[in-house]
Symmetry: D3
Subunit: 233 residues, 6 copies
């Protein structure tokens, strides 16, 4: 099968490392392509970024369908406007935030999300509650690190570990979702230290997309009908 992964930002320099991580977990018969948006914000960290990116995301999803991809993933810890994304095409589209929550609920009763910025934490907390899974959420924690310090990978790794540890020991989380794509290299470290499953949203989206294609499934058009074409000024 052929899956297209869309980074919902306009930062092509992120592709190289990310596609490597995705290929490492892809099924043997899966061919992956990864793109970012030709226009739009350079990163997605709040609802405004999502709003500025969404028209371009829709365009890329439709293009993927025309290009005969079997499925599309939005490689992102947030859920930028999932209804529009699922209305856009008939092939399955899977979004990172949603996919990571699904896996988390299979692995434990309560999960926490650890993300970078307080603004993203508010959006993610809201997304979980709006999805009807609020009773499964232990906490959303932001590390709130100034951007410059993010260059110091060793330091960031320890800060993330610390927040994840609080999520487990004080908030009662059984599972951690890393709420930021750039964090995935840190995943194994946190998982080993805390001995709880740690989920990468972009990876979860890819594997759920493969699952849907294998099973002949896609989002229900009864819930997300493809809109008729309409005059847009």
């Amino acid at each position: 099968m052929k899956i297209k992964i869309i980074l919902p930002n306009s930062s092509p320099e992120l592709i190289k490392d990310r596609i490597h991580e995705r290929k490492a977990i892809a099924g043997k018969g899966t061919k992956i392509d990864m793109i970012c948006l030709p226009k739009g914000p350079v990163s997605v960290e709040n609802a405004t970024d999502e709003a500025r990116a969404i028209p371009h995301i829709l365009d890329e999803i439709k293009r993927a369908e025309q290009e005969k991809y079997d499925a599309v993933t939005i490689d992102c810890a947030m859920d930028p406007f999932p209804r529009a994304i699922k209305e856009a095409v008939k092939i399955p589209v899977v979004i990172g935030g949603e996919a990571s929550r699904l896996l988390a609920t299979a692995l434990g009763d309560k999960f926490s999300v650890v993300t970078m910025l307080p603004s993203a934490a508010e959006v993610i907390r809201h997304n979980v509650e709006a999805s009807g899974m609020g009773s499964r959420l232990a906490s959303v924690r932001a590390i709130d690190t100034p951007v410059l310090e993010l260059a110091d990978h060793a330091k960031v790794k320890e800060i993330i570990l610390q927040e994840a540890r609080i999520a487990v020991e004080e908030d009662g989380a059984h599972v951690i979702i890393l709420g930021c794509a750039g964090m995935s290299r840190i995943l194994t470290y946190v998982q080993e230290k805390l001995q709880v499953p740690v989920i990468d949203p972009g990876g979860a989206a890819l594997k759920i997309a493969e699952t849907l294609v294998s099973m002949g499934l896609a989002q229900s058009k009864r819930c997300f009908p493809t809109p008729p074409s309409k005059e847009i000024k």
Copy 2:
């Protein structure tokens, strides 16, 4: 006070009647201006329309703040991407869907929404549940009338009345929200026939906006922080 009403579509011909309805309920000291979007879909009937409209809505909200309006309303029965809308500015922004639900919960235990199209009904049902008020929702009903027949106002009025009656008598609704702006002329008719309160979302948004301005309130920047300016390609 000075309030700007934004129709989230690109159909200026709707303004004339609509502004008249809004002025009829505005407070004595309230000055109202109404605009529609310079670009974007001609109507908002599904999540795709919302996604295509949202960048233009954000631009108009920001412009309203620069023009020193005291508040903005989105005159719509749906909730197009409310987090981005509330992040955009510091002046209060009130959205029709949300405002109508707030009033409905003060007037009865259960409310129903009657709208035009099944696609809009799915979006509205989801919005209510995502807002945490699902336990107060009796039903969302679509009249599903072919567009051509909408020209026959007398007929549409009866069809809406019929759906609203089922909502009250079978679904247990105590309050009806008319989930479509063009329906407001029918409001009084339905209210008299069924003897339950019938709420017009756009009107609700205007009155809640006045309330917030009078009380010195606006959306919490702790929940909806104004994002820093960011590179957009």
Copy 3:
């Protein structure tokens, strides 16, 4: 329009300051009268007080309807028996606790209530949960100050600020409701210090009442039917 505000206690000395605060936010065309109860407890701080006051509240609401008021508000941070209040008359009746919650949910995802006594805090927490909005409640905090110290306004102001700050910084509140009418003079101070919206329940009730009158709405008699007259011994 003409609105009657009922203080649900028998302390007429509270009227003078309170009516001044309400007039400051009333619409230009709104005429306000404020009364307290001729009989009943001198303050409402627990469910027993509510129970002792409710027959007198019902009498005053009915009198207001006979006097041709357009609406009534119960100027109170609690919700003394709202079903009976809404059954009593056909004109809109709005209660402070409920009105403040409605506005709070429009301004942020999570709100806290700060009140004086632990007994009132238990009642308010219960009211929020019983209204179906428990998922939006961050916390209810009581300042638990001995009555004598309440005379020291400067001190009380700081104690309230302190509890509100904990609500925001530790409990995750985006919005504060001041759960006690006497606190409203402190509202601006807390709002400026914490930079989150702070809501006065009595003021919220007044503005929602104006909204309902403007829109021709009142509580649904389908939910709150006016009871037939009945033999009372």
Copy 4:
């Protein structure tokens, strides 16, 4: 032990039959007295009746505590102002509506309440949802029979059976609560016909009261603190 049963109305003619039913299920060591209110509405069928009765209910509960009863029950399918009732005394007070719901949840996943009047049905539905047990409620059904026909016991029995049957077969109820005290004579008939448990609220209250006394339990004063005495005008 000595338990006082309070009928929350002013209709002493109801006592004779009712006390007989209660004694039939009381434990061997339980002494029962039953009273009605000296003042107040002759029946409790809506929130207004509850509000008119509650001060007299509180007086009778306190009197029972002074008379050294071990517990009090409110023999009623509704829940007239339970917080005030539980604040009033330290001895256990059990209310019919609440007690019947507790037993129902032990007997099946979903229960329905069958009551006489639509007005009572609205109040009961609201009480169940406010108690946090809304997810266990299949339906509340009112038989809506004109008062005069209630004299025809055979007819009423069939009408109740019919509504209870719909609750079971269409609404999915596993358990029926008879939401009206006068219905208890019909209980066995419905239970045999439908082969599901049928609960009498007043009886449930009595047995839960016995349970609490045997186990040395009463309502938590941490939740329902006895209020300090207060000036009442």
Copy 5:
């Protein structure tokens, strides 16, 4: 009436003390017999223990029905597979965990469970949430004491008191459930120290069983149908 109490473990040495405690609260006309399982785990502290015990529990319940007992209780703070237990027979079966929650909700808005082991705490927390009463749960706390120290009763008593105090003062519990049968001797001590109701699950099960027998009630076969006999290899 004649009630059989089943300890869901294979430790007959626990019977002597336990039956004494149960008889102390039983009604005057109630005859009690207590057994433990002939096979199965020596204690029930996690889901695996429950799974290993359940076939033997079902056998004992059926035997009790054949022996003409009026009811059965499972004397346990957990809920080992309640659906199978309720399917097994037509006489009422009441389980400790469930019965204690029912009484707790009548005594306060929020309850906590204090148990011995973290593994049991996870199971109990899950049971409460799965029962639909999660909104009433303040916390589940484990004392996590090494087995050897449990021999030091004075020490255990203080540790339990300490956890229960935190549940009340920090977690907001109004009621404590002692989530472990061996704790019941400590119950009175904790209740007196904290002045909140403290519930023993096994005792609660017994009294609810008596209640059901008195009222002619048993679990609904509509919800828990007795399965047809089936080939078991």
Copy 6:
């Protein structure tokens, strides 16, 4: 990777067809073995069957871990005692009922389950609600066909289609879960007729198991700790 599929019944004749279906959707690198239980009920249709099967299920799961399988699935539309199953081993165990719900929530807002027997329908409805996903459940429908008629495949296919159609058109389901393993051959037929996604629980379990193995994930031992070995009589 190597995955063991456990049919939780003692009917080896089911293996031949079933393993064929599973291999059809398995990833290229996945080696599958399928077994049924050596002892236990011949089918799992109610909670009693689950209880009789669970000790044998646990034995087989542990054996699979010893045999170095990478993951185990329980190929079943129900969830037989998931906590014990997840406590038993460290390798991932995925259960059909749970896995199908996870996929369903990614494909639409509301799903229905169509199963054979009313007894199984009650168990499945309860499982969904206990998992915290009750707000996403449209309905559970049983076809209630006498066993003999099940031999007439063409007839069963039409009956299932009919129930699924009602679930979609009247109950509002966007997605159908076929709540019975033997139904999977009918899946494509229903999906094509109704144009909504139809999920086979056993297949869902297999694909989620593959996903977990690829991502290095397994159930959290913080939530499902492996119990210490214990004396079992």
